[in-house]
Amino acid sequence: MKLSKELEHRFVEELEKHQNIVHKVCRLYTNNQDAHNDLFQEITIQLWKAYPKFRGDSKFSTWMYRVSLNTAITLYRKGKRAIRTQNMDDVLYKVKAEDYDDTEEQQLKLLYKAVHQLNDIEKALVFLYLEDKSYREISNTMGISEVNARVKMNRVKTKLRTILNP
C-alpha cells in the first residue's frame, strides 16, 4: 500500500514536470479545448497504466513521447466531451505576438493551420521534428527505418509547402 502511494506520488510529480509534452501532442491532434482536455485525460491514464513497467533505462520524457503519441494516434477514441464543441476558432490557439512582426505572426498562424491539415502519421513526424528529435529517435518511436523516416519527413515538408503556397 505504501509502495503504491509512493509510485503514485513519483508519477504525478514527473508528469507535472513534463506535462508540456502531453499538451503539445494534444495541441496537434485536437481542435478545441474540450477535446484537448479529453485527450490529455486519456494520455494520463495510459501513462499511469504503463508507469509500473517504466524502468528508467530511458528518460521519462522519451518514454512519454511514445505513450503520448501512441495514445493520440491509435488508442484514443473521442469522448463525449470532445465531440460536443467543434469551435474551429480555438484550433490555432493563440500565437504569441510579442517578438514578432505582423508578417511573421501571420506566417506562423498559417503554418499551424497547415500542420493541422496533415494526417495522423505526418503530424507525429512533424511533432518529433519540432521537438528536435534525431531521425534515429523518430525511427525508433514510429517503428519505421531511419531512411524511411527521412524520406517521409521530406514528403511532409513538400506537402506543407503545397498547402502554404497552393
Binding site: 506535462q19 491514464i45 491509435t74 504569441k96 519540432l130 515538408k157
Partner: protein
C-alpha cells in the same frame, strides 16, 4: 525549409502557453477509467465469445430442442466428438486471444502497437468465421438427419422417386438451404463490417500509411 524552422523556433519557446496542471489536479485524473480503443475491442471480443458459446449451448437447455435432437438419432460418437471439438476450439481461441492481448503495449513503436491490435482483431475474426462455417455444416448435418428420420418425408421421397422427380427435389432443397445460410452469413458479415469499420477505420488508415513507406 525556412517556414518549418520558424515554426520550430516558436514551438520550442512557447512552453508557458499551456494552462499548467497542478499535482492536485493530476491525482484525480489517474483514477479515471480509460476509454481506449483496446478496451472497446476487448469488451466486444468478450461479448462475441460469450455469444457464440451461448449459441452452442443454450438450445440444449430447451426440452423441445432436446427431443428434436434425439429424433435425429445422431450417433453418440459423432455427437460427443463434435462437442469436444467445439469446446477445444473455444479454449484454443481464448488462449490465442489472451496472448495477443498481452502483446499490446502502449510503449511499443507506433507501428508495432497497431500491428498487435490488428492481429488481436484477426484472431477474433477467425473465431467468428469458424463459427459461421461450423454453424453451416452442423445445420446441413442436422437437416439431413432430421429428413432421413422423418416417416412422412421418407414416404414422400418414395413417391417422388417413383415419379422420377427425386433429383429435382433434392436440388431444390439444397438450393433453399444454401440460400438461407448465405443470407444468414451475409447479415452477420455486414454487422461485423459495420462495428469494426467504425472502430478500426482510423487504425487501418494509419497502419496503411506506415506500411506504404516500406514498399
Amino acid at each position: 525549409m525556412d517556414e518549418l524552422e520558424l515554426l520550430k523556433k516558436d514551438w520550442q519557446k512557447d512552453t508557458a502557453e499551456y494552462p499548467q496542471l497542478s499535482a492536485e489536479e493530476i491525482y484525480p485524473m489517474i483514477l479515471k477509467k480509460s476509454s481506449s480503443l483496446v478496451k472497446w475491442i476487448f469488451y466486444i471480443s468478450i461479448a462475441e465469445l460469450v455469444f457464440w458459446i451461448l449459441m452452442n449451448t443454450l438450445p440444449f437447455l430447451s426440452e423441445s430442442y432436446k427431443e428434436n435432437f434425439d429424433k435425429m438419432e445422431m450417433s453418440d460418437t459423432l455427437f460427443y466428438g463434435l462437442n469436444i471439438f467445439s469446446y477445444a476450439i473455444i479454449c484454443v481461441f481464448i488462449y490465442f486471444l489472451y496472448t495477443a492481448y498481452r502483446s499490446i503495449s502502449v510503449v511499443d513503436t507506433a507501428k508495432g502497437l497497431m500491428k498487435n491490435i490488428l492481429r488481436t482483431r484477426k484472431i477474433v475474426n477467425y473465431y467468428v468465421i469458424y463459427n459461421l462455417v461450423f454453424l453451416a455444416i452442423s445445420s446441413i448435418i442436422a437437416f439431413y438427419y432430421t429428413m432421413i428420420h422423418s416417416p412422412e418425408f421418407s414416404q414422400q421421397l418414395t413417391e417422388l422417386d417413383s415419379n422420377g422427380e427425386a433429383f429435382g427435389f433434392w436440388m431444390g432443397i439444397i438450393f433453399v438451404l444454401l440460400l438461407t445460410i448465405a443470407i444468414f452469413g451475409l447479415v452477420i458479415w455486414g454487422f461485423y463490417r459495420l462495428i469494426y469499420g467504425i472502430l478500426l477505420k482510423r487504425l487501418n488508415r494509419n497502419y496503411k500509411e506506415l506500411k506504404k513507406l516500406e514498399t
